[in-house]
Amino acid sequence: MEPVLLAQGAEARVYAARLNGSPTVVKERFAKAYRHPDIDYRLRSTRMAQEAKMLLRARQAGVRAPTVHFADMQACALHLEHVDGPTAKRFIQERTVEEVHAVATAIGEAVAKLHDADIVHGDLTTSNMLLRGGAADQLVMIDFGLGQFTTLVKDKAVDLYVCEKAFLSTHPSSDALFAHMLDAYKASSRHGAEVVSHLDKVRARGRKKICLG
C-alpha cells in the first residue's frame, strides 16, 4: 500500500501506513542535503532514538503514548501505532463544558506524571494530544520530538509555559480551562507547587531568557 503523507515538518515527514496488518504512522526524519552526510545521519538517528525512548519512558510513567512497532535505522523512520481519535484541540472546540473540563484534568495529570518521571515534552500543544476513541479519559500524548530528560524545575516550568501559550492562542478565552489544568497538575505532581511557582518567573521573563539563568 502506498503511504499517505499526513504532515510535514522541518525535520520529519509523517505518513499513514500499515505494518503486519495494523494501521501505523511512520515518522521519517529525512536527510538534509546541506549537512555533511555522516553528521546528518548521526543527527537523524540519535533524534529518532531519543524520541522512541521517550515514548517508552512516558508509558512507564503511566502516560498513554503510541506503541513503537519498528525503528528503521536505515531511513531513520519510526513506525508507530496509529491512534484513532480526535486531537485535544478538536475535542475542546466541539465538546460540552463537562467533557472539556475532564480533558483539562487529564492533561494536567498526564503532564504531572511526565514531569515526575523527569520527562519534559517540549511541545505541549493541544494538537499533540489525542483522545483515543473520542473518550475524555483516554488521553494519548504524541510527538516527543522536542522532548528531553531533565530534572530541573525550570525546564518543567518552561514546559508549562509553552503549554499555556499554546492553550491560550488556540483556544480563545480559555484562561479558566488552563487554570483548571494547572490545578490538576499541582495536585498530582510531587513538585507541583514548586514548578508552578517557578512558572510565574518564566511568565515574567519569557521562555528564551531562561538559559541566561
Partner: protein, 175 residues
C-alpha cells in the same frame, strides 16, 4: 502426496519475499535434541521458550528487527535465526537473551521460528510434541517471568497492553 507441513507462514510487510514459519509445540519430549540442533553452527531455525511468548505481535516484531539487522549487515549474533532470539530481549546482552528466551533442554513448550520452509517441514516431523495454533500463544504464557524479563510495571499496564509494552521494547532494543 500430502502437502508437506511447514507450520504457519507469516509475511513481514517490509520484506515481502521472506516468509516466517512458526510452529508451536506442546508436551515436547525431545527438547534436549532440539536444543542440541539449534546450537549447531549454521542452524536454520530458532527455538524459543513458549512461556516467554505472549503472542504473534511479539514474534513478528523480533523477526522484523532480525531481518532489518541482517539487511544492514548489523547482526549482533552473526546469524539470522539466532538474531531472532536475541531480538526478543529488551536488553543488549546476548547471554541473557538466550538464557531467558531460548528453549532449554527441559522446555516442554517450544516455538520454532524459521525463514526456511525446508527447515520448518523437517522440524515438524522431528520434534515430538503436540501441535498448537500459534495464535493460541496469547492464552498461555508465564506472566510473572515475562513481566520480569521486560521490566513491565503496573503503571504501564494501566495505559498499555502487555503485548504492546513488549513490542515497544523490542523495537527500541538497539537504539
Amino acid at each position: 502426496m500430502a502437502a508437506r507441513d511447514e507450520g504457519r507462514a507469516f509475511v513481514l510487510e517490509p520484506y515481502p519475499d521472506r516468509r516466517m514459519h512458526v510452529i508451536v509445540l506442546d508436551d515436547v519430549s525431545n527438547a534436549a535434541e532440539v536444543s542440541a540442533w539449534v546450537r549447531q553452527p549454521g542452524a536454520d531455525f530458532a527455538a524459543v521458550d513458549a512461556r516467554m511468548v505472549v503472542g504473534m505481535p511479539q514474534l513478528l516484531a523480533a523477526a522484523l528487527c532480525a531481518l532489518h539487522a541482517e539487511q544492514r549487515g548489523k547482526l549482533v549474533t552473526h546469524a539470522l535465526h539466532s538474531e531472532v532470539v536475541y531480538a526478543l530481549s529488551a536488553g543488549k546482552q546476548i547471554n541473557e537473551a538466550f538464557r531467558r528466551f531460548g528453549a532449554g533442554e527441559s522446555c516442554a513448550r517450544i516455538v520454532i521460528v524459521t525463514f526456511d520452509a525446508g527447515a520448518a517441514a523437517r522440524l515438524s516431523e522431528r520434534i515430538l510434541g503436540r501441535r498448537v495454533d500459534p495464535l493460541s500463544l496469547a492464552e498461555r504464557f508465564d506472566e510473572a517471568a515475562v513481566r520480569k524479563a521486560y521490566k513491565v510495571t503496573e503503571a504501564e499496564l494501566r495505559v498499555a497492553s502487555l503485548s504492546d509494552a513488549i513490542v515497544s521494547r523490542i523495537a527500541i532494543q538497539r537504539l
